[in-house]
């Protein structure tokens, strides 16, 4: 029986159906859209069932690799343009398996959680439609084997984020945040699109298949220039989606959406996609000119620090988490920037981070649910009224801070170790610095939220089981998944997810020591500063630096005042003006000329055409003009013209 099941699972043929995992949420989305309102519980059930099924399947898929199965890929023709063929396909390897498992699991939790959180929302059903669609799009990105299909899922995620962030669109701020998110990511998508073109072009329109492109790249059949260009352009997409500097500005605003959405965006979908894209197309980066990876690393390093710093000064609990996400993603980017060395570590961090960040967001959501405010200045001392939330939150925070033996610790440790192993000390130092700051703001957040006295209004109380349940599940996961990368357990994760060839897990005492040290320092310093709550945040002591951080380095202002407004108001006005006045002026000018001529000939304007063609101006100036003189009604004058005509014609045409 069990054997049979095992046989069924270990049979690679099972992978043939991986795509179903990606399809299920799309189906459920459609079902909710059309039948949601008519089903008891108003619809989420479809999404939950779909994801549950998906989760089971993905575990099965993962099992295949746990048992050391080989990757599998298949595709069918989608359509042909000219001789250029586009395909629908799937590529399933360890990475895919891990991702689908992670996504389905977390998304499932979020769905369940949302039932409670969104209870009574006026667009309850619609919310789940988009949520399912969102998940489906992400899974599509994960499962696909070619760039165009990936692009489709990629952009659908974009619109879903738009819809979810703007879910409460009655508030102008929310809809603005939604637009900001979409436009900013879209700005990244355009380079991404061109990157796809470049790669497709590089293969001579032979294929859009990522693996094939990778192989061609590794076989050196593609010009390095094109590869480099392609890689960088693709990375542009990641920058947008994974909210890396300088396109990170949308993510904090995205907090405008309901909290589950934030969790979805930050853990399961959206931002993960950016990192995943780089990982998926890693061979392109690797075989391109090193500059490509350097750029990735550099962007990662920069973002890592600046985002972490911003997290320091936030009062909005979700904003803290948002910036922490940006900086954690930057960790992964930096790692990937290290090349093969950082690949596995980066993915591992992506994996673990998803769990504890989802956990943190949902927990934060539960807090917000209780106190009806995002601001930590209106929280405090919540550990008593809402213990479950507190403990889960604490686990998540410690993981984020990188405290052993929680997942965050292992993944971060591996990152640093990777940098160390690659002798890329600048990156290593950046990572360590980031770790300090991370530990610091995490602690600050926890202290402000759960310790001290309650500063808010009303009496906060624990959230319902439907919300805390998922918290518990995620907390458990957060504790467990770390060991997948734990060297003593031979880090199975590294056997599932690797680039080209798996690498053995090593432990460097130095690195472990360092990471524990930095985490510890951060925590202790923060604890010292925030043990007692102060009205004025201690960090304000930083002075100008503090205000710089408060203003987010003025980046938003620069973008808004320097790009958006000039285009939205000035350039557009100019375009409209030229169209109305210049171009249309020429057209009407022609009419005006004709009219003027006829006015000249006719001698005066009878207003016959008034208003019919606005360009036709009143040509009163010609009163008493030609026609008046010629068509004077005096027949002898006619005769005179007649003879003059003859004479002139005679002279002109007989003499010349």
């Amino acid at each position: 029986m069990v054997a049979a099941a095992e046989a069924a699972l270990s049979n690679p043929g099972f992978l043939r159906y991986t795509w179903v995992i990606a399809l299920l949420p799309l189906v459920s989305a459609t079902l909710i859209l059309f039948f949601g309102k008519r089903t008891p519980g108003k619809g989420p059930i479809y999404g939950i069932l779909a994801l549950a099924a998906g989760f089971v399947m993905s575990v099965a898929v993962l099992w295949h690799f746990v048992t050391g199965g080989a990757p599998y890929s298949s595709s069918v023709t989608w359509f042909e343009v000219g001789t250029f063929r586009l395909e629908l396909g799937q590529y399933v390897d360890g990475l895919t398996a891990v991702m689908v498992t992670m996504v389905t699991a977390i998304s499932l939790c979020i769905h369940v959680y949302s039932i409670g959180y969104m209870q009574g929302d006026k667009r309850y059903t619609w919310f789940f439609v988009v949520l399912s669609l969102f998940t489906g799009a992400m899974l599509n990105v994960v499962v696909t084997d070619n760039l165009f299909q990936l692009l489709v899922g990629w952009e659908i995620m974009g619109i879903c984020s738009y819809l979810l962030i703007g879910h409460w669109w009655e508030e102008h701020a929310n809809s603005s945040a939604a637009i900001k998110a979409f436009i900013t990511t879209k700005t990244g998508d355009i380079p991404f699109l061109f990157g796809i073109f470049t790669l497709v072009f590089a293969t001579g329109f032979a294929t859009t298949n990522i693996q094939q492109i990778g192989e061609m790249a590794s076989r050196g059949e593609v010009s390095t220039v094109l590869l480099t260009a392609g890689a960088l352009l693709l990375f542009g997409g990641s920058i947008g989606k994974s909210a890396q500097f300088p396109l990170h500005v949308w993510l904090p605003d995205a907090m405008a959406g309901p909290t589950p959405v934030s969790a979805q965006i930050h853990a399961a979908t959206m931002v993960a996609a950016g990192v995943y894209l780089v990982a998926r197309t890693f061979s392109v980066f690797v075989h391109a000119n090193p500059i490509a990876l350097h750029v990735v690393a550099a962007i990662g390093g920069v973002t890592l620090v600046i985002a972490a710093l911003l997290a320091l000064v936030q009062d909005d609990i979700k904003k803290v988490l948002a910036y922490s996400t940006i900086s954690q993603l930057a960790y992964m980017m930096a790692a990937l920037g290290l090349g093969e060395a950082g690949y596995a570590a980066g993915m591992f961090h992506l994996f673990t981070h998803a769990f504890f960040k989802a956990l943190l967001f949902l927990a934060a959501g539960s807090v917000i649910h209780a106190v009806h405010s995002n601001n930590m200045s209106e929280m405090g001392g919540l550990r008593k009224p809402m213990p479950r939330t507190f403990w889960t939150y604490l686990i998540g925070s410690l993981a984020l801070a990188g405290v052993p033996p929680l997942s965050g610790f292992f993944s971060k440790d591996e990152l640093i170790h990777a940098a160390y192993k690659a002798h890329d000390y600048p990156i290593m130092i950046t990572l360590l610095a980031g770790a300090v700051i991370t530990a610091f703001y995490t602690t600050r957040m926890v202290m402000l939220t759960f310790f001290g006295d309650y500063r808010g209004h009303g009496h906060p109380h624990e959230s319902p089981a439907v919300m805390t349940g998922p918290l518990a599940a995620l907390a458990g996961a957060t504790v467990v998944v770390g060991f997948l990368g734990f060297a003593p357990t031979k880090a199975p994760f590294l056997d599932w997810v690797f680039f080209e060839h798996p690498e053995a897990a090593e432990v460097s005492v130095l690195v472990v020591g360092l990471s524990i040290l930095v985490a510890g320092t951060g925590i202790l310093v923060a604890y010292a500063l925030y043990r007692r709550y102060r009205e004025r945040d201690p960090l304000t002591a930083l002075g100008p630096v503090y205000s710089l951080l408060e203003h987010k380095y003025y980046l938003d202002d620069i973008y808004w005042k320097g790009i958006v407004l000039p285009i939205r108001d000035k350039a557009s006005a100019f375009a409209n003006w030229t169209s109305q006045v210049i171009l249309d002026g020429v057209v009407n000018g022609a009419a005006r000329v004709a009219r003027a001529l006829s006015g000249l000939v006719n001698g005066f304007d009878r207003n016959v055409l008034d208003g019919a063609v606005n360009g036709v101006a009143q040509t009163a100036g010609f009163t008493g003009g030609l026609l008046r003189y010629i068509q004077s009604g005096n027949v002898q004058r006619y005769a005179a013209f007649l003879f003059t005509g003859v004479v002139i014609l005679a002279i002109v045409f007989t003499r010349f």
């Binding site: 359509f79 042909e80 692009l151 659908i156 619109i159 669109w169 102008h172 350039a571 557009s572 169209s579």
Partner: protein, 511 residues
């Protein structure tokens, strides 16, 4: 060939004309009867058209349902009609849109009523539009081409809004101005053509003649300029677009739908069918400039949209941008480009037509199109209408999985690697402009949605009893909505049809 094959397209094309006459002789006061007849005839025509689409051999690249009868011997013009993969989608689109418009008219007849004339002109228009896509004789093509002018002139002039007469006459004069030069170009080709010692207006023969290098380069350059003017104004390409916003803004809903949905396509279709294959050399010489104008159009239109205060005018400008993508694709002179162009045309026809429907209905409820006056909160007041509107707007900004996407992406892709004879770098520049355009497009559509759909409802509308989407509207919209998704998910529906024909055409083009 069976009688059906001989007669099918003629029946489909002229059935509306018959309808127009029938309706013209109906008593003025029998409103319902007249509207019913309108639906009946457009429906019948659509049925025939669908039958044609079913009978169509999608494998073949040549002309099908071809008829070539003697018409005007004196000038060697023949009644030569037929459909191939390129014209079939547009041909079908014409009938679908006309039918849906007729249905829409069942409930919505714009002021000042006069249903009879309204439908009669609509049907007349339909024949003109349909004919343009099946004509394979330059003279015949020109006749159909011009046939749409008069009905559209009256549609705008009678049932338009405030400034209608100006818009109508402007539309008429401007497009006529272009087309007369086009006519000169046709005549020029006629006299330079030499098929066994005889001149010809026949499109196929001319294409072959041109492919065999019949037209000298200098001649091509001159004639292309003349023809370009005719088509470019119709498309309309920047900077010839100024008639469009006026015409659209003033025209009644149905007029706008047909104008955006089909009329504009006549211009781009003309490029694909006539300008390129008949004047290949000139096409290559002009392509960079066409591309440039297209690129400008994309960015420029998007910017202009940001400045619009009138919802309908905004959408009008947006179609300038979308046609810019189509023209860019055509300018690349590649099979992918042409495929993309046709896809873009159809997608734009469906989506923008739908957008105009929405705006029409919004106007019907609120009696204003000023974004400021609407003041947001549409989703609160009329969730379904708002939802449809949002959906279509998002489709229009090129979301993958919806029709708008493929035309755009493939256009950009073709611009990435244009025909070998063209300057790649230049076209990549255009591509980048196009990319920027897509961002701006997303920008203005989302901004529009924010200002119209989202936010809270102004008090002035709070009390007003406004009906949400009506049955008639659902009936006339659902097909378009379905098509939007279907084409987005299965682009093969369209690429599969055009591909063969386009490949053949481009092979003949040789570019």
């Amino acid at each position: 060939m069976s009688g059906w094959d001989k007669s099918a397209i003629s029946i489909a094309t002229f059935l509306p004309l018959v309808g127009a006459f029938v309706i013209a002789f109906m008593p003025r006061d029998r409103e319902r009867l007249i509207r019913g007849l309108g639906i009946l005839f457009t429906g019948a025509a659509l049925a025939v058209a669908i039958a044609i689409a079913i009978g169509f051999d999608y494998g073949g690249s040549g002309l099908q349902f071809e008829v070539s009868a003697r018409w005007i011997d004196v000038i060697g013009a023949r009644y030569h009609v037929g459909v191939d993969g390129i014209s079939l989608p547009l041909y079908l689109l014409t009938f679908v849109l006309s039918f849906l418009c007729a249905i829409y008219t069942w409930r919505f007849v714009p002021n000042p009523g006069r249903t009879k004339a309204f439908l009669a002109l609509q049907l007349l228009l339909e024949t003109g539009m349909a004919g343009t896509f099946i004509a394979f004789d330059l003279v015949l093509f020109f006749i159909f081409w011009e046939l749409v002018l008069v009905p559209m002139y009256f549609l705008i002039g009678i049932w338009g809004s405030a400034n209608r007469e100006y818009a109508a006459i402007k539309f008429f004069l401007y497009t006529l101005f272009g087309s007369v030069f086009m006519l000169l170009g046709f005549l020029g080709m006629y006299f330079r053509s030499n098929i066994g010692g005889a001149h010809t207006f026949d499109v196929i023969q001319l294409q072959q003649f041109a492919a065999s290098g019949g037209f000298t380069q200098g001649f091509q350059v001159v004639v292309f300029a003349a023809i370009f003017l005719g088509f470019a104004i119709k498309v309309p390409m920047w900077p010839f677009h100024t008639w469009l916003p006026d015409a659209h803004t003033e025209a009644p809903t149905v007029g706008s739908v047909l104008l955006a949905g089909v009329l504009l396509k006549m211009g781009t279709y003309g490029f694909v069918r006539i300008a390129l294959p008949m004047l290949p050399y000139a096409a290559q010489k002009y392509a960079p400039w066409i591309g440039l104008l297209a690129a400008i159009a994309i960015v420029y239109a998007a910017l202009a949209c940001l400045a619009q205060k009138d919802l309908k005018r905004l959408i009008a400008f947006s179609s300038v941008g979308h046609m810019g993508f189509v023209m860019l694709a055509i300018a690349t002179l590649t099979p992918i480009g042409i495929d993309a162009a046709i896809f873009g045309m159809v997608a734009h026809g469906i989506i923008t037509g739908m957008l105009f429907f929405c705006v029409g209905s919004i106007y019907d409820r609120y009696h204003t199109r000023q974004i400021v006056d609407l003041g947001g909160g549409l989703m609160q007041k009329l969730p379904y209408l708002g939802g449809v509107f949002a959906f279509v707007a998002i489709a229009s900004l090129g979301l993958p999985g919806l029709a708008g996407f493929w035309g755009e992406v493939m256009a950009l892709l073709s611009a990435f690697s244009p025909a070998s004879s063209l300057n790649t770098g230049l076209f990549r520049g255009y591509m980048v402009a196009g990319g920027v355009g897509t961002i701006l497009t997303a920008g203005y559509f989302l901004w529009m949605l924010q200002r119209v759909n989202m936010g809270t409802l102004p008090d002035k509308w709070r009390e007003a009893a406004l009906p949400d989407v009506l049955a008639v509207e659902w009936v006339s919209w659902v097909p378009l909505l379905v098509a939007t998704v279907a084409l987005g998910v299965f682009p093969r529906f369209l690429f599969g049809v055009t591909n063969e024909a386009v490949t053949a055409l481009m092979h003949l083009f040789g570019g």
